[in-house]
């Protein structure tokens, strides 16, 4: 078992090294220049060149990579060109809204998807099943920004019960800040629920036909216990995987929703950084997101070890 864990851990490091290198190259070969953005539309070419030199962007790529990698090994993601502060501290500042947004979205998605998925599978082919799978398809097809705007129009503009955008002003309490997350979390939760629902339904359909379910029923066990204790417990592995991956996706993929709702989260930071070509922030954010992905995958693998002993061998 420990050999399996070490293997997976080393694999994780190798993936991170490849990600670091690819991120560095992609960011540098993309057109656009942070110096030109910072100096504004009327800056001359000479101004841009001198700022590029000051930022070290005139150095050969391999030299820039060496500096970047050396800093990374010391846990330093560099300094943001526009924010004049370390990338890690800028990211840490943005972690709160993104963390809570992800948490709430997953909670809402799970709350919708798991019961509906279970019931859809249980009543396979019924009107409930057909309506819920159609709605799931609709939710999966709706762009989250569009859904976000609809929610804003209804809940913020018409009913006035939630703020339109932002994350509270100076000195806003945690409750006020969290109230700004309700609509974006609802928007992301609805969209994310579609995938989880379909996985839950498919996974439940698999296990509901298994022998042990039949055996449980033949023992005279109540339907609720059969479904929840025997079937759902075994259907949980793929559902857990998809919830984990959705959470990782939300950390990085809430970009559009955070922009629409003006939330100062990691996604918004990445969008601003891309538009301004703030290389250290783009690199840092992508690395953290990639690390989260790799880590979540690693944790899911470890979870498999606990849930399914066959994986160990």
């Amino acid at each position: 078992m420990s050999r399996y864990v070490i293997q997976r851990f080393l694999g994780m490091l190798a993936v991170m090294f490849v990600v670091v290198t690819i991120v560095f190259i992609i960011v540098r070969i993309a057109p656009g220049d942070p110096a030109a953005v910072m100096l504004g539309p009327d800056a001359t070419a000479q101004d841009v060149a001198s700022l590029r030199a000051r930022l070290g962007l005139d150095q050969p790529l391999i030299v820039q990579y060496g500096i970047f990698f050396g800093q990374l090994l010391q846990g330093d993601l560099g300094e943001s060109i526009f924010l004049n502060r370390p990338v890690l501290s800028a990211l840490a500042d943005r972690a709160e809204p993104t963390f809570f947004l992800t948490l709430f979205s997953i909670f809402i998605a799970g709350l919708i998807a798991i019961p509906v998925g279970i019931l859809s599978a249980y009543w396979r082919g019924s009107l409930f099943d057909q309506v819920s799978t159609t709605l799931a398809m609709l939710a999966a097809s709706v762009p989250s920004f569009w859904l976000g705007l609809l929610l804003i129009q209804f809940f913020a503009v018409r009913l006035g019960i939630f703020p339109v955008s932002g994350y509270g002003g100076p000195g806003a309490s945690l409750a006020t800040r969290l109230s700004h997350l309700v609509l974006p979390a609802l928007s992301l939760g609805i969209v994310s629920s579609a995938l989880i629902l379909r996985f839950t339904r498919a996974s439940m359909l698999d296990v509901l036909n298994d022998d042990y379910v039949r055996t449980a029923r033949s023992k005279g066990m109540g339907e609720f216990r059969v479904v929840m204790k025997h079937a759902f417990k075994n259907a949980l592995i793929p559902v857990l995987t998809v919830i984990g991956l959705t959470a990782a996706l939300l950390v990085s993929g809430a970009v559009v929703t955070e922009t629409v709702f003006g939330l100062p989260g990691v996604g918004n930071l990445v969008v601003s950084a891309v538009l301004r070509r703030d290389y250290p922030v783009i690199q840092g954010a992508l690395l953290i997101v990639a690390a989260l992905y790799v880590l979540i995958n690693f944790l899911i693998d470890m979870l498999y070890l606990l849930v399914d002993p066959r994986v160990r061998y």
């Binding site: 539309p41 009327d42 800056a43 001359t44 924010l83 500042d93 339109v164 932002g166 922009t259 100062p264």
Partner: protein
């Protein structure tokens, strides 16, 4: 709690200096995004100017008629030696936000930083012979040759010659300390920029006059909140979450015109979209080919596609609209909104156009640029151009336009700048690289004439050369739409909105 805060702040104001009868209030201003920097010297971005003008000030500024007027200077400068020596007296008793007094040493240090770091400052630097502090309240600037745009450049809030304490000259700026009516309290990037009233601020006497006159810090706080999505800004205005919402899509006008929570603020006219030509190399290096572009276009269709509602645009070939001292029709007749493919084809033949791609760089970050580009592409195709429309993001556009090998036309826009010499495309080093004997003669004559009475005629001559040589094509005038809460009083529509002299109706 709220009442207590208001009462407390009122007491503080009553006990300290100028009594502002209606002072108080906190406003939230939705902006188009987060400013790339808070150093107004180094950036020409409008958003930087909008925010920083509340805490940084320049020696001069512009009044409502766009005339230069003193701000930190005590009066207009004494200009001697044929327009080469500017002696500037400073106002007494001006304090920086850190409590220190502003002296001529601070002004000299700031202007030197501006000439080293600011793109507009560098424009001036080459012509400056000497900059010195004559006494603690007087500064003298000696030029090599007379340079008429100097005062406008010193007054402009964009790449601005702001005055900071001499010991705060770090690059990049570490500590934004100015003299303005508001102080920077906190900046949380992508969340808010919080400004609080500068209690020690002494406004000029009298009333406000454009950016000049008295700047009274009536509000307790101004919070600039970035809302990058235009649709969310519209909803923010409709819901009343923001007291002022900058830069709304014009399509939103019908939705906000009859609301109780917000009312439209229209700045008429705001600016002009422009097609800038690469005169250095490629298809547009030929003046006949450039003229063919000009004559092939229907500005009317382009503006209609870009802005829709005729309330928000007008056909106007003059570089400055009526109402500006610079308005002139020199060179315009028969060369604006012509849409004549036959004439354009004849010119293309004269230019020996080989059918190579006409690369038009545009961005959807400004949707109206893209819409105009789409219409223009069809007219240009009718004239015989092989159009290659390249749609990129704004950062890519600003980088690519620096390389003459990569493009033939790029699309941008500008507000009507108070001084024509500030128009970027007039400079030989600006992307487009317009350089010709006629340009030099006309622009030099305009830049070195310091008599304000003679300058409009010289600008008309520059405009004529622009039409003759077509380094760029002005498409028309457009208006800007913003929204404000009906509770706000004293908001003056302005290209760079400001909130001194603004109060909240109780």
């Amino acid at each position: 709690m709220r009442i207590k805060e208001v009462l407390l702040s009122s007491l503080v104001i009553l006990g300290s200096g100028p009594v502002l009868a209606q002072s108080g209030g906190v406003i939230n201003v939705a902006t188009i995004g987060e400013p790339p920097t808070l150093d107004p010297m180094v950036s020409t971005a409008d958003l930087v100017g909008i925010v920083t003008q509340h805490f940084f000030e320049t020696l001069f500024t512009f009044d409502k008629d766009w005339k230069v007027t003193p701000l930190l200077a005590a009066s207009m400068p004494e200009v001697t030696d044929g327009g080469k020596v500017y002696t500037i007296k400073l106002r007494d008793g001006i304090k920086f936000h850190d409590g220190s007094d502003m002296t001529s040493e601070d002004v000299v240090a700031s202007l030197k930083r501006w000439m080293e770091q600011g793109s507009r400052g560098k424009q001036v630097a080459g012509n400056v012979d000497k900059l010195e502090a004559v006494d603690p309240s007087t500064v003298r600037l000696t030029l090599k040759t007379p340079y008429a745009p100097l005062l406008a450049l010193l007054a402009f809030n964009n790449s601005a010659a702001v005055i900071m304490p001499a010991e705060k000259m770090d690059v990049p700026m570490k500590d934004p300390v100015g003299t303005g009516p508001y102080k920077l309290k906190e900046r949380k990037p992508d969340q808010y920029i919080q400004l609080v009233r500068n209690e020690a601020y002494k406004p000029l006497e009298g009333a406000g006059n454009g950016y000049g006159g008295a700047r009274k810090p009536i509000l307790d706080e101004i919070r600039f909140v970035p809302v990058p999505d235009p649709n969310t800004r519209v909803e923010g205005a409709i819901s009343g979450q923001f007291d002022y919402v900058d830069s709304l899509p014009v399509e939103a006008y019908d939705r906000i015109k009859n609301l109780q929570t917000s009312k439209p603020v229209i700045l008429k006219p705001f600016g002009w979209p422009v097609f800038v030509m690469n005169t250095k190399q490629g298809v547009m290096a030929n003046v006949d080919a450039r003229m063919a572009v000009r004559l092939s276009l229907s500005m009317e269709d382009m503006l209609a596609a870009a802005f829709g509602n005729p309330e928000f645009y007008s056909l106007d070939g003059a570089m400055y609209p009526k109402g500006y001292v610079w308005n002139s029709d020199a060179g315009v007749e028969g060369r604006y909104n012509v849409a004549d493919p036959d004439k354009a084809k004849a010119l293309l033949k004269k230019a020996n156009y080989s059918g190579g791609p006409l690369r038009i760089l545009t961005s959807r970050q400004y949707e109206f640029h893209y819409k105009m580009a789409q219409v223009a592409a069809e007219y240009l195709k009718q004239a015989g151009f092989a159009v290659d429309l390249q749609v990129v993001d704004w950062a890519t556009l600003t980088q690519r336009r620096g390389d003459p090998a990569l493009w033939d036309i790029y699309i941008t826009h500008s507000p009507f700048l108070p001084e024509p010499a500030l128009i970027g495309q007039l400079s030989e080093s600006s992307p487009g690289w317009w350089s010709s004997p006629e340009r030099k003669k006309a622009v030099d004559a305009f830049n070195t004439e310091s008599d304000p009475q003679k300058r409009p005629a010289l600008w008309a001559q520059v405009q004529k050369v622009i039409y003759d040589e077509t380094p760029s094509v002005k498409i028309g005038d457009f208006n800007a739409l913003s929204a404000q809460s009906p509770k706000l009083e004293g908001v003056v529509p302005a290209p760079w909105p400001y909130f001194w002299n603004v109060s909240v109706k109780k």
